[in-house]
């Protein structure tokens, strides 16, 4: 009866503790469980061993001398416990073990009787329970072994629950870490920034002193150090040489390769290294290499996280490279499309200034020589960025040039251009434009505006600013749109100031309207040469935005001399 009551208490304790969330509680649970079992069986000593990753070790023990515990640790391959675990069969032993029955078993001179029971969960051995008696009056029998087996079953469930909890926590940590890494390295398309962020993550994730990101040159295939952290100056090529053999192996098998006793340049001590290929669409584009100068090995959890990081890094690097190539093409295209300076117009001063908000912008300006005395002046804001914007600018610019050659009326030109843009660009594409034709013989300016900021005309005689505008919707969104045109004359000293909305946005601060600021600045600087006027207004806008405007800024100034 007493034994049953004691067993019930043990069972109750198992059930109570098996559902705990505290990872350290497994040790406490095993300790208390062992204590209860030893008391129940009136045993002198015992232990609980755990099996993890093909090795087993003593998790808790009571009553065992230190040297016995160490012996068990070091000779597990020949010990009783190993055989019981391997056979998954409990045993009761009496007295010292017979070397013929148990070759290589550890001598047990002080033990009179012992029970060794595998702890099994779904036919998988997760540990071992040992109960020992050193008293001649206490000899275990088969019935007690059967009872101990029942307890062992519950103990096994507790151990397995704890293992599953640990696994779940590790998985959660793994995905949480990967999510944080993904968020940062995919937040930019700037290749240098992406490489820097990856290298920082690698060092943190695998706790290494040195990190090297090596990429294959897309044209030559040569391996180059793209980013290094912890690499001493002047040793870049040494690290490439160091990583190359492992990289070759990683490339062939498309798997992670570890390096033992790696000889780091400028460091005599053997280091541990790890090389992971960066794979995009089954093609190896580079490698992540990490080194620990103290030679410590990389754990499974660490390598698993590094593999996940490498997958994300490969995509982020490839995207950044593609963006860099695209931007390069768009940048070259834009340089061709937007001249830095216009050709001079006799009798007039002309200035211009353009700043894209990103590598390639969507604003453009143009000066078209229609004939000997007439010029077309264009300032436009094209929707889109980078390659899209460059393509739209190209279409628009060349369409205007062709139309300007045969259509003298700005309003009629806008009509044709609108239809062209509507039919030959994406549905969400649109262009705002100020188009004017200047007759240099008499200063006649004929203009039409399509959804664009009004021009500013400063009269020299009475320094005042007129807004130059007509009604007209953005080009490309309504095929049946109509446009109007107006005329005015430029007299000597008059200045026409054209711009895009990026300028007024940049000049805007708090409640102050950007156009008011622009008009005031224009008035103050009206005596400056046309180019200096454009530069100074531009500097004022950039200064407001600490050098980085949110939108493109284009300015054209024209003064009649």
């Amino acid at each position: 009866m007493e034994r049953q009551t004691g067993a019930e208490r043990v069972f109750e304790r198992f059930y109570e503790l098996s559902g705990t969330d505290d990872p350290d509680d497994l040790h406490e649970t095993l300790n208390r469980s062992l204590e209860s079992v030893l008391r129940l069986f009136q045993a002198d000593s015992g232990s609980v061993m755990l099996c993890r990753e093909r090795r087993h070790y003593i998790a808790v023990c009571r009553g065992l001398p230190d040297d016995a515990r160490d012996q068990v640790h070091s000779r597990l391959d020949g010990a009783v416990s190993s055989r019981v675990i391997a056979s998954q069969t409990p045993v009761v032993l009496h007295g010292p073990v017979d070397p013929q029955d148990w070759p290589r078993a550890i001598p047990r001179p002080n033990l009179v009787s012992s029970i060794s029971i595998p702890l099994q969960n779904r036919r998988k051995v997760v540990g071992l329970l040992n109960i020992n008696s050193a008293s001649p009056n206490r000899v275990f029998n088969e019935d007690e072994m059967a009872f101990a087996s029942v307890i062992a079953h519950h103990l096994a469930m507790t151990i397995e629950n704890a293992r599953l909890r640990d696994e779940a926590k590790e998985r959660s940590r793994y995905f949480s870490d990967l999510y944080k890494i993904a968020r940062t390295i995919t937040s930019s398309l700037d290749l240098d920034l992406v490489l820097r962020m990856i290298a920082e993550h690698v060092r943190r994730v695998i706790a290494c002193d040195i990190c090297a990101l090596l990429l294959h040159n897309p044209d030559t295939g040569a391996l180059q150090l793209a980013r290094g952290q912890g690499i001493p100056d002047g040793t870049d090529s040494d690290y490439v040489d160091l990583v190359e053999p492992a990289a070759r192996q990683a490339r062939i098998c498309c798997k992670l390769v570890t390096m033992r006793d790696a000889c780091l340049p400028n460091n005599g001590r053997p280091a541990s290294g790890i090389v992971v290929p960066l794979i995009v669409k089954r093609k190896v584009v580079g490698y992540i290499a990490g080194f620990r100068s103290d030679g410590t090995a990389f754990s499974r959890a660490t390598t698993r996280l590094l593999l996940g990081l490498a997958e994300l890094a490969a995509i982020a690097i490839e995207n950044a490279r593609l963006y860099r190539r695209q931007s390069g093409i768009a940048h070259i295209t834009q340089k061709e499309l937007t001249p830095e300076r216009f050709e001079p117009i006799r009798g007039y001063e002309i200035g211009s200034r353009y700043t894209p908000a990103h590598q390639v912008g969507g604003d453009y300006c143009d000066l078209i020589r229609i004939n000997k005395r007439k010029f077309g002046l264009v300032v436009a804001d094209v929707a889109g960025r980078n390659v899209t914007a460059a393509l739209h600018i190209a279409k628009c610019k060349h369409a205007v040039r062709v139309l300007a050659d045969c259509i003298s009326s700005p309003a009629k030109l806008m009509l044709k251009l609108n239809k062209f843009i509507y039919e030959h660009t994406d549905p969400e594409a649109f262009i705002s434009m100020f188009y004017a034709v200047l007759d240099t013989t008499n200063g006649l300016l004929t203009y039409s505006v399509a959804g664009h900021e009004p021009g500013l005309l400063l009269r020299a005689q009475i320094p005042s600013i007129e807004q130059v505008r007509t009604s007209g919707i953005l080009l490309g969104i309504h095929p049946g749109a109509t446009f109007e045109e107006r005329t005015t004359y430029l007299h000597i000293g008059d200045i026409l100031f054209l711009y895009t909305d990026g300028l007024t946005d940049a000049l805007c601060s708090g409640q102050t309207d950007g156009l008011e600021v622009l008009e005031e600045a224009f008035l103050q600087r009206r005596l400056e040469p046309a180019q200096r006027l454009a530069d100074n207004i531009h500097r004022l806008a950039i200064g407001n935005q600490e050098g980085k405007p949110p939108d493109d800024i284009a300015i054209v100034t024209l003064r009649k001399m």
């Binding site: 959804g451 919707i473 949110p550």
Partner: protein
């Protein structure tokens, strides 16, 4: 503008109202376009957009508005923008959007816009 732009969709008197908190620009306009597409596929062709908490709109945001009004007008409806701040209102006026009342309506308040909208 720091932080991500939020989009909230609710219904008033059978009219969908999309509230935007933040900026409407190149980065988040795909989300706006998706919302309009989803509402359109559910049979709504009059959509009110509450712009009271939109503090910045660039050409990307403008393209989202344009696409939205195109889709809705093709389905016989309109896009109704409500409570715009003076800067954004000025952009839309300069762009000529006030010249298309059959496709785009600019209202002073969400209530006004909902009242002007035709429910399905």
């Amino acid at each position: 503008m720091d932080g991500e732009t939020e989009f909230k969709v609710e219904e008033r008197n059978g009219i969908p109202v999309v509230k935007i908190v933040g900026s409407l620009d190149h980065y988040n306009v795909p989300r706006f376009r998706q919302i309009i597409t989803d509402l359109s596929s559910k049979g709504h062709n009059e959509v009110v957009v509450d712009m009271s908490e939109v503090d910045f709109m660039d050409s990307g945001g403008m393209s989202g508005i344009i696409l939205g009004l195109k889709w809705l007008s093709e389905a016989g409806g309109r896009l109704l923008l409500a409570d715009l701040n003076p800067r954004i209102m000025r952009k839309l006026e300069i762009s000529g959007f006030t010249m298309m009342p059959d496709k785009l309506v600019l209202s002073d308040s969400v209530d006004q816009a909902v009242a002007a909208a035709r429910s399905q």
